[in-house]
Subunit: 352 residues, 2 copies
Amino acid sequence: MKKYWSKRIQELEAYVPGEQPKDRKYIKLNTNENPYPPSPKAIEALEGAIGEAMRLYPDPECSAVVEAIAQCYGVEKEQVFVGNGSDEVLAMCFPAFFDTDKTILFPDITYSFYPVYADLYQVPYETVALNDDFTVPVDELLNPNGGIIIANPNAPTGIALPLDEIERIVAGNPDSVVIVDEAYVDFGGVSALPLINKYPNMLIVRTTSKSYSLAGMRVGWAMGDNSLISALNTVKNSINSYTLDRVAIAGGAAAIADQEYFEGCCNKVIATRQRSIAALRELGFECLPSATNFIFAAPAKISAQELFTKLRERGILVRYFKKPRIDRFLRISVGTDEEMDALIAAIKEIIA
Amino acid sequence: MKKYWSKRIQELEAYVPGEQPKDRKYIKLNTNENPYPPSPKAIEALEGAIGEAMRLYPDPECSAVVEAIAQCYGVEKEQVFVGNGSDEVLAMCFPAFFDTDKTILFPDITYSFYPVYADLYQVPYETVALNDDFTVPVDELLNPNGGIIIANPNAPTGIALPLDEIERIVAGNPDSVVIVDEAYVDFGGVSALPLINKYPNMLIVRTTSKSYSLAGMRVGWAMGDNSLISALNTVKNSINSYTLDRVAIAGGAAAIADQEYFEGCCNKVIATRQRSIAALRELGFECLPSATNFIFAAPAKISAQELFTKLRERGILVRYFKKPRIDRFLRISVGTDEEMDALIAAIKEIIA
């Protein structure tokens, strides 16, 4: 019964996140969380933020997080916007930069939240088909458009574009905003950050949910020209003045400031990923080259859907997308070495 | 330079929250925060939520909060939607229930975020003028409309409508959604909750920021018919799957569950409010009858703007709205007895 629903949402198909089951203990390789805990300094900061001051509103500008980002990434504070996870930041980009009468472009296979944001904000879009090897067809993103959004590295393929290709997209669209979603860049991609002062139309979006092990606290951000940041602040202040709570602000700032711990975790994940890709290939899987904390892998002797189901029965969760072109793949988040060993052992059993 | 801003936000005037100054210690009576800390059980739950699990996403359904609300308010879980503060919940109501070609109604003097939400989501609106005594003109809200939003008690007047008047609005608009923003209801208003099973077009919006002393954690919610709640979930899942972090979920649930502590704080605030109104009236102020945790008060011997400035110089923050009809008033949040005594003493000094 949708009598009271607006016309806008009558047909809207919302995003469905990977499951967060509560029924039993799983080896959770389905939502690209980091297998390592957040920095001990972040935990300490989270604890330190709790107290009687909870009765007071948080800092609406999230200054502590903005300052940590400005310092660690070498940008001006005015080039930083902080939000409740990168999903919220991305959602705010749509009304900030895209119009209802200009068609934006993004790849056909990418983060499946992009078409949902577009539908909610009634922004028309066209998708460009990835090449046969699942790389992004850069030339197609130079066609006339009202905006571009790409994930780099892309999800769920895991494949990264080199910096010169990103620059070609940004430079080739001087009248559109190009959003580069770098949620996974810390695991082997090359950031577009060096282009930030050169191109006023480029916005980089980041998250602490993957590389900073802080998915539970909801801290994401954008970096770009002051004018883009101001637009995002205008949207934010038309929705919710206080998107990050006191604890998230403290923990987010401390996690970002602890670059040494962060790099250590990223390196461990990268090493485990490479080991796991080798092991999967030995079992006949086709694995796309991953610059992320997940592996997009197609099994040889069993359908992806069947393998997904059988892994789940054995207490191992991965993600399966029943979608054209990618339904022979599983997206497997990189866990600890032990978790990946358990995965490989389970797969061997299943395909035996 | 707004070259890259969408047309939608070119002229958008965002909401400006009350200041959260960092420069010095103030007696903060400007953003309607509770002067008492959150329940010790909430503090304990906040602390208990911190740990290695921060690397994992939070529960996207905020089940712990939903369950606490269902239990304390005697509603079904399917009648509850939880969001990042009531501001976010309200913001999601606009695309969920209001169309871009039907005019919604709200009072001319009310929470100043409503026209901002409407502008962002391109929902046309008309305001109905409050009566001369600042009460809501119920009959005017029975005119044809595409939706209604009212704060009850209203802000910044503090005046509450009785339940039968709310019912008249809800019953008189069977084809529109009527949103009743009850942010302040716990301080003396009468909730529309008893109407929830009778009217599928009524949505109640609540917050933990005032009566539950949890402004720092961002937990708000809505209660209404299942179909309205489903619409809100559709909008939420088109923006951000995880709007509350792990700590906020734990603390919000515990704060709501501790009804005894909550009632104690509300009663203390109400007692202090009545004392303060009496003291202000003795100084010649006109005070509207308040059913909230703030007092809307017009000084007699000095302009509101001047008094605002002089109080600020003395380290006391209140809120002044430079707007037609209400620019002779100050909105004064109810603090502790000591804080209100300091306020009264400062006012005496200033007007002497």
